[in-house]
Symmetry: D2
Subunit: 94 residues, 4 copies
């Protein structure tokens, strides 16, 4: 059991120091999360669509992360969507 070891006082300090560091980082993350919400609200106030904007941001991030994988997935999604739609049409006519 990964307890806090024999010297529980030192152990308690150790736990608290890690908890405090994580809490501070999480607070920073929350603050940025609020900033992101503000930018989306501002975009909406200027007539842009938040859902579409979010999908564009996600696409650009995926492309930045792995351009080849992004391009391949986008091409396959289009290929599969056309396939499904074509099949649906064929069945509709049958």
């Amino acid at each position: 059991m990964t307890g806090i070891g024999d010297n529980s006082e030192a152990g308690a300090g150790l736990v608290k120091s890690f908890v405090d560091r994580i809490l501070r980082l999480k607070e920073e993350q929350d603050a940025i999360g609020d900033d992101v919400k503000d930018v989306y609200a501002e975009a909406k106030s200027q007539g842009l669509d938040k859902t579409a904007l979010g999908k564009v941001v996600a696409k650009i991030r995926a492309n930045q992360k792995n351009p080849d994988k992004y391009a391949e997935t986008e091409a396959l999604v289009e290929l599969y969507m056309n396939a499904v739609e074509a099949e649906a049409l064929t069945h509709a006519r049958a």
Copy 2:
């Protein structure tokens, strides 16, 4: 405080009955979740791409849920992506 009321025995039975019902439903959900994983694994074994297949399923479900909203969002995503790419090109040439 929404405790279990004065008659704690009846209250205990009440809590247990709701917990048991939710647990049973969650188990059914887990079982279907495993079935979904199996279908994706089978699709992969037949040469299809799981990520692309998942995105197609998500698009079709969004379209089934709200066709107008789906069509509008897809159009706006394309419009915004073209705008961002056009802007990037303009800056690249400047």
Copy 3:
């Protein structure tokens, strides 16, 4: 690229069959998800707290999944919480 192969007609049918199977399973999952929501709503109507009920369900599922890991984690959470609180008190008095 894991496309749909040379025989695109067969490939299209393949994609559609997998998409249809996943869609059906997702619909079943959605239906059960609605049932879960109904049970929580019923529990709330009988005076129980949905958040607490959900945490109890999660604890029981974690225990069912891996009793040893569940027991160890619960014990460590208590140990660490006590450590953090003790440290906070020590600092408050210093």
Copy 4:
């Protein structure tokens, strides 16, 4: 349709500026997310349990956010857990 309006050039610039601002903020969030992972890895290297540490952080954040709601939920979770366990025992003996 919340398109980009008549002056598409200005509109394109508008979309790009919002996308760029959100991308920058998301990158900051990612960087902090990596820092959080590093702290958990460091805690693990010093013998602490990441899962338990994460649950303690979550409890402290819930308490910071709404102390009354946190205290009530914790009390109800304990009450409901005892109820379920008591009921299970009663049935076991019956």
